[in-house]
């Protein structure tokens, strides 16, 4: 009998649907959402290579998952592979269609490749089609950082969309860190520190906070923040790099010439 008639009440109750081996053994079903969540987790922990793989699997299972496409393009941007990011953005638009976050990512690619004229246009267009995502505001804020305008306004708007979400704060911190400007570090610290003070500590937020502190030259403070994050989540690979980078110098000459605050 064709499977489409299984639900008809002809004889008796239909036989139970065959369960997958993962469901039977109590494991999570590895669908697109599973890989998308795994990719997001890696992305916010700055593990871009595994995040890229997870997003790629998610798009393979469900090509209509815009979040996975967005994450994939974002990973390529963070890995400074702008040409590939542009290429993959076009493919994402072809398959999943255009939306605010994807358009904002195009603005980010243009801004990071110093094509500011395009970046301004795309950032404005992304803001018009943003939906409920704070990403267009964050990326517009990053473009504003390069233009030396009031980026704080855009970051405030992004935080107002999701006040209790830690993800926009991390994206803001990453944008501020990438711009490599001291005023931007202070701005990033302001957004992240207020959030960390008011909410339960997350390893990802602590990692971002430590990175900003390290960028500002407060190495000891950054190290204590990294250690706090390591107690919460010791398996973060980026955290190990950060701890190694902020380790106190060993040896006579290192201590003599490489003094840290």
């Amino acid at each position: 009998m064709n499977r489409r008639f299984n639900s008809l009440e002809i004889d008796a109750a239909p036989p139970p649907a065959p369960s997958t081996p993962e469901a039977a053994s109590g494991e999570a079903v590895k669908d697109a959402q599973y890989f998308l969540d795994a990719g997001d987790q890696h992305f916010y922990r700055l593990e871009y290579e595994p995040a890229l793989k997870d997003y790629s699997r998610a798009t393979g299972i469900d090509p209509g998952a815009r979040g996975a496409w967005t994450g994939q393009v974002f990973c390529l941007v963070e890995l400074e592979e702008y040409r590939e990011a542009e290429l993959w953005y076009k493919k994402a638009v072809e398959i999943a269609g255009e939306d605010g976050p994807l358009l904002a990512l195009r603005a980010l690619i243009a801004a990071r490749t110093a094509d500011f004229e395009k970046a301004c246009g795309f950032a404005d267009a992304a803001l018009e089609a943003r939906g409920a995502s704070p990403l267009p505001y964050i990326i517009r804020g990053e473009v504003f950082l390069y233009a030396k305008r009031n980026a704080e306004y855009n970051f405030n708007q992004a935080c107002a969309i999701a006040p209790d979400d830690w993800r926009p704060r991390i994206l803001i911190a990453n944008a501020c860190l990438f711009s490599q400007q001291q005023p931007a570090f202070i701005l990033g610290l302001k957004f992240l520190q207020t959030f960390v003070d008011l909410h339960a500590p997350q390893p990802e937020t602590l990692l971002a906070l430590g990175r900003i502190q390290a960028a500002m030259g407060k190495t000891k403070l950054a190290r204590s923040t990294f250690e706090q994050a390591a107690t919460l989540c010791p398996e973060m690979t980026q955290l190990r790099h950060c701890l190694r980078a902020t380790a106190p110098p060993k040896g006579f000459f290192a201590r003599l010439f490489n003094r840290r605050s």
Binding site: S56, T59, D62, K91, A114, Y146, K148, N150, Y153
Partner: protein, 335 residues
């Protein structure tokens, strides 16, 4: 088209399954599952260039509206003129040709030669050896361009090829010279003429003339001497300012009856005996050379036309020596 999830036989052109909504086999799904294409190289140099441009920033293209977004506006970056970009790109063209022909070693060699020539030009700028540096630079460019051009190696072509190389050298030298001259002209810089050959002001030096509201004794200034409706530019030192009784007797300068210790740029220059009173807005500038006599066969008439006392209107500005760079230090030591 059979859905891999629920087995429903969908229409052939369907993208999603009508029952479970799963995506059906698309041409690019398999490609997407394989992962995105990755960069084969790190593109370190290009990314560093991007970082420099980002740090320099940019000016937001729209006119600034009066809203909250402009609260912290601190200005934008400086724009490089298009002709400067074109010149720089044009200078690198020969090496670029080599890169394009996949001759990387040669390309780096020519690029190195070109940069060495450019460095040599920078060092010899402001000295009479500037032309030699330009020739060396042109030679590197000609060598590179000649290597990039596929000349026919037949015996009958030897002279033609040699002539083409000479022509290339001539064109490159002329172009480099023209670019340098255009740059100087664009920056309002001046070159000291050949008849100045003193320690503080030598031929070939590159100077900048800056108009100022007040001048001090010891400043080297540019002046315009008008002779028969023609202006002659000369560069000399201000010896005295203000209302004084000035006298030149036997080559010595006397101010208010006392012998003056400060020397002009050319201390050996002889000037006929002469006496005059200065007004408060006049300057004593003893000429280093009869520039008019050099240009026109005026002789004694020119000598008579020159007056060492100049009014403010005749002084075009203070002379700052730009090249050679080490001469700036020498100038600072002077009174």
């Amino acid at each position: 088209m059979i859905c891999p999830g629920c087995g429903l036989n969908n229409l052939p052109d369907a993208n999603r399954c009508a029952r479970c909504g799963q995506w059906l086999a698309l041409g690019n799904v398999a490609e997407a599952a394989a992962g995105p294409p990755r960069a084969t190289s790190r593109r370190w140099f290009r990314n560093r260039l991007y970082a420099i441009r980002r740090r320099r920033g940019f000016r937001w293209p729209q006119a600034a509206p009066a809203n909250q977004e402009d609260g912290g506006c601190t200005g934008g970056g400086r724009e490089i003129p298009a002709f400067v970009k074109a010149i720089v790109l044009g200078m690198f063209a020969p090496s670029w040709c080599q890169f394009r022909q996949q001759r990387r070693k040669r390309a780096w060699l020519y690029l190195g030669l070109f940069l060495t020539g450019l460095l040599g030009l920078l060092f010899t700028l402001g000295t009479p050896y500037r032309l030699v540096a330009i020739w060396l630079l042109a030679m590197a460019q000609t060598w590179s361009a000649g290597d990039a051009i596929p000349f026919l190696p037949t015996p009958s072509r030897v002279w033609k090829n040699a002539a083409a190389c000479l022509l290339l050298f001539w064109a490159a030298a002329l172009l480099d010279h023209a670019i340098l001259a255009a740059f100087f002209y664009g920056q309002n810089w001046e070159t000291i003429p050949y008849y100045y050959h003193y320690r503080q002001l030598n031929r070939g030096m590159v100077v900048k003339v800056t108009p100022q509201t007040a001048y001090q004794p010891g400043d080297i200034v540019a002046t315009d001497i008008i002779y028969y409706a023609q202006a002659y530019r000369s560069y000399d030192r201000i010896l005295a300012t203000g209302a004084h009784q000035v006298e030149i007797t036997g080559g010595e300068i006397y101010i208010d009856g006392r012998k003056f210790a400060r020397e002009p740029i050319n201390p050996d220059f002889t000037f006929p005996d002469w006496r005059q009173s200065m007004r408060p807005d006049e300057f004593l500038v003893l000429p280093s050379a009869y520039t008019i006599g050099l240009h026109a066969d005026a002789g004694q008439q020119a000598r008579n036309a020159i007056c060492p006392i100049l009014s403010v209107g005749r002084i075009r500005g203070k002379v700052d020596i730009l090249f050679p760079v080490w001469h700036r230090l020498l100038l600072q030591e002077q009174p």
